[in-house]
Amino acid sequence: MQAEAEVVLDMRGISKSFPGVKALDNVQLSLKKGSVMALMGENGAGKSTLMKILFGMYSRDSGTITLDGQDVQFDSALDALENGVTMIHQELAPILHRSVAENIWLGREPVKGPLGLVDHDKMWADSQNLLRSLDLDMDPKKRMCELTVAQMQMVEIAKAISYNARIIIMDEPTSSLTDKEVKHLFEIIRRLKEEGVSIVYISHKMDEIFQICDEITVFRDGQYISCVYSRDTSQSELINMMVGRELKDMFVRESHHIGEPMLTVHKLTLEGKFHNVSFSVRKGEIFGIAGLVGAGRTELIETIFGVNQKSSGTIFVDGKEVDIPSPSTAIEHGMALLTEDRRQTGLSLMLSVEDNGCIANIDNYINKFKLLDLVRLRKETREECQKIRVKTPSMSTPIGNLSGGNQQKVLLARWLLTQPEILFLDEPTRGIDVGAKAEIYKLVSQLAAQGKTVIMVSSEMPELLGLCDRIMVMHDGKAKGILSHEEASQETIMDIALN
């Protein structure tokens, strides 16, 4: 490894406040030529804020940024791009109904002739070359909306590379990529390194960090904690740095009594999504559903919850056959669904923590005048949020201002307020930090200990293996088998999924 490579980017003493929050407090980051720097920390640690300052999206309150030995100040993303800094954003923002090529060259379309008309031929050709150089098999004339999310992400990466940047910021670039595409991305990163490009890599995924990163900078609560070589550290040391405390055991399985069958699904089918799925979950049981993205897991629990209309099959709750045409009926039957995509189907970002928390439980606060008992509503919503340790400046803070983990906890509070007997959790820890994950795991096992039925869909094997009493493996719309806690391992699950 090039130990004394020159420093391309040096950020020092950076501070940034938002109304009510000190997002960054005197942090630093130093990036060497041709190396990959991981930026780690819990959600809300300030990683994205620092990167947005570097990229000119936020202005800093204090501190210096030195690029190739010169002080710089980017006032806009355009400024940053012109100076060879690009960023792959965590949240994709493709223009869905325009082509891949138009998305890549957006804002810098090649033009020709005296009228400055867009040179489409050149645009197609350039895109073709770019995609081919990255071994991406994609038609640049295809519209973005025809691509899978993973392909969109790869287009985003191609776009960042097309700026011929010296520094590429990657904010959770693999969040929607499959293993194969992650490997592909890493090959691209290695090639970029050889060409002398430096990369800031933000991710929660430890194995990726150790595979691809040379150095690791850790932030916690807006403060700089440490910068270490990845070969000199370990996963547990990193977690300690990130959360500031020992995470002895992420999965504490509370002893819980497993009772009578609570939810039974018999030969449930949603045409085109899943077929003849049958299973039965008992009171006090944590039931995991494993499988690859696209296996039909989300569709399955959404169908039970009445979001989709089943094509055939029967559902029994507590021994009685039920018909669930809509989520409101599901809620009446004591069900709750924490959805997969917080932003799409969970949060109202501009509304307060309180309004987001109470919305599924409004019926319980209507008094005899048909008005809301706001006092009780506020009290109970606040108490539920406190009980599961939501960190927020106040209950009237817009939920968009909270970190992902806290947003997820508010959504969990939303459902716990309805006092459900059956909880569906769809990727409950996606995109949240280690500390919040551990808290959610603890909550889930507490709920089971209280006799609730928990059905959890997850793509993270360790949490399924750590928490669940039984795991059903789905593949291509079919239930391939159910494993007990003792039988289940990464290998047995993959074995079932792929056979």
């Binding site: 929050v21 809509s326 599901a330 949060l347 109202s348 501009m350 309004d355 919305i359 400046p393 201002n401």
Partner: protein
């Protein structure tokens, strides 16, 4: 759960904290300051402005638009829009007026009709408004066409229906009871002003103290999330548009009673003034944000502008230009206010 960095109640605020505090006050109450400033300005410019009579006059003049604005506020909070208010107003005005004509008037629309109790034209008028709104809501909720299109259709249809019903002529000579709705006074306060105040308070309660209100904000905030949270989104959308239609009908009663005539051309462009009032008052067209008090102030700002500019002898043409500029400026201000969170 308290964060020490956030306690703004203490006495020892740093200058930074003061700045943040002042900023948040301005962004929250900015529209009220604008209103006060405007009133102050007009009072200084013209002695007749700040008199009880003139103030009541201003409020009375904005009641029709104000009533519509209350309804459209709630619609916009759900991420909708209602372009049909002015036309629905016209339709309701001719139908209600036709049921409230003086029995001794020779050119009555229904010569054989006996003198009806005053509740008949009122109830029929409100029902027509509710029906029009319900049709809007049905198409928005059940077919998924954009509210802009659904209500644009209703805007044209209702105007046409008003023309057909009245044969393009005013429906005049209304009973004194009916005229009271627009011209009457209670304790020296014009009845329309009282009606507007009552409706504003009711809408405030509706939005802030009922399940309906919470659901309106939730639907505007994130429709899918509202659906998954067990809210019957379609039903509440229909209700919201029905409410909008009823508010247009109320405005129709007030306006036709004031001029003692139902007219098919009445309320032309009122929907735009109402949307403007709501928008000036801080209702966000991206949904989920807006208050009744803001809209009331927005309507009053429009009233003060109309009245004040009249007093100052500004020509009607210039008044339009000034109003247009102010509406856009208000939205720009609003966007800046909301841009801070990301």
């Amino acid at each position: 759960m308290s964060n020490p960095a956030l306690s703004t109640g203490g006495q020892h605020l740093s200058t930074d904290e003061k700045k943040v505090l002042i900023k948040s006050i301005i962004s929250k109450y900015g529209i009220y300051f604008v209103f006060l400033g405007l009133v102050l300005f007009m009072s200084i410019m013209h002695p007749a402005f700040l008199t009880v009579n003139n103030i009541l006059n201003i409020i009375r003049q904005v009641t029709s638009i104000g009533l519509i604005a209350l309804g459209v506020t709630i619609i916009i909070i759900t991420r909708g829009i209602d372009l049909s208010s002015g036309s629905v107003l016209a339709l309701v005005s001719v139908i209600a007026a036709s049921l409230a004509q003086n029995p001794d008037w020779g050119a009555r629309m229904y010569p054989a009709l006996p003198m009806l109790p005053i509740v008949v034209p009122i109830v029929v008028g409100l029902a027509i408004g509710a029906l029009c709104g319900g049709i809007n809501g049905f198409f928005v909720a059940k077919t998924g066409i954009p509210p802009f299109i659904a209500t644009l259709g209703m805007m044209i249809v209702a105007r046409g229906a008003a023309m057909i019903y009245s044969d393009g002529r005013p429906v005049s000579s209304l009973t004194p009871e009916y005229n009271f709705i627009g011209q009457g006074e209670i304790l020296g306060i014009p009845f329309p002003v009282i009606l507007f105040a009552i409706m504003a308070v009711l809408c405030y309660i509706l939005l802030n103290h009922t399940r309906f209100g919470k659901y309106v904000y939730a639907i505007g905030g994130n429709e899918q999330a509202a659906h998954v949270s067990g809210i019957n989104v379609g039903k509440y959308k229909i209700l919201v548009y029905i409410l909008g239609g009823v508010m247009s009908a109320l405005a129709a009663l007030v306006l036709s009673a004031r001029i003692s005539s139902g007219q098919p051309g009445l309320g032309n462009m009122f929907e735009l003034d109402a949307i403007a009032a709501a928008t000036i008052g801080g209702v966000s067209h991206s949904g989920g944000i807006g208050t009744i008090q803001g809209t009331v102030v927005g309507a009053l700002i429009i009233g003060v502008l109309n009245n004040g500019l009249d007093l100052l002898n500004v020509s009607a043409y210039w008044q339009m230009v000034i109003k247009g500029v102010i509406i856009v400026a208000a939205v720009v201000f609003d966007m800046r206010k909301n841009a801070r969170k990301s």
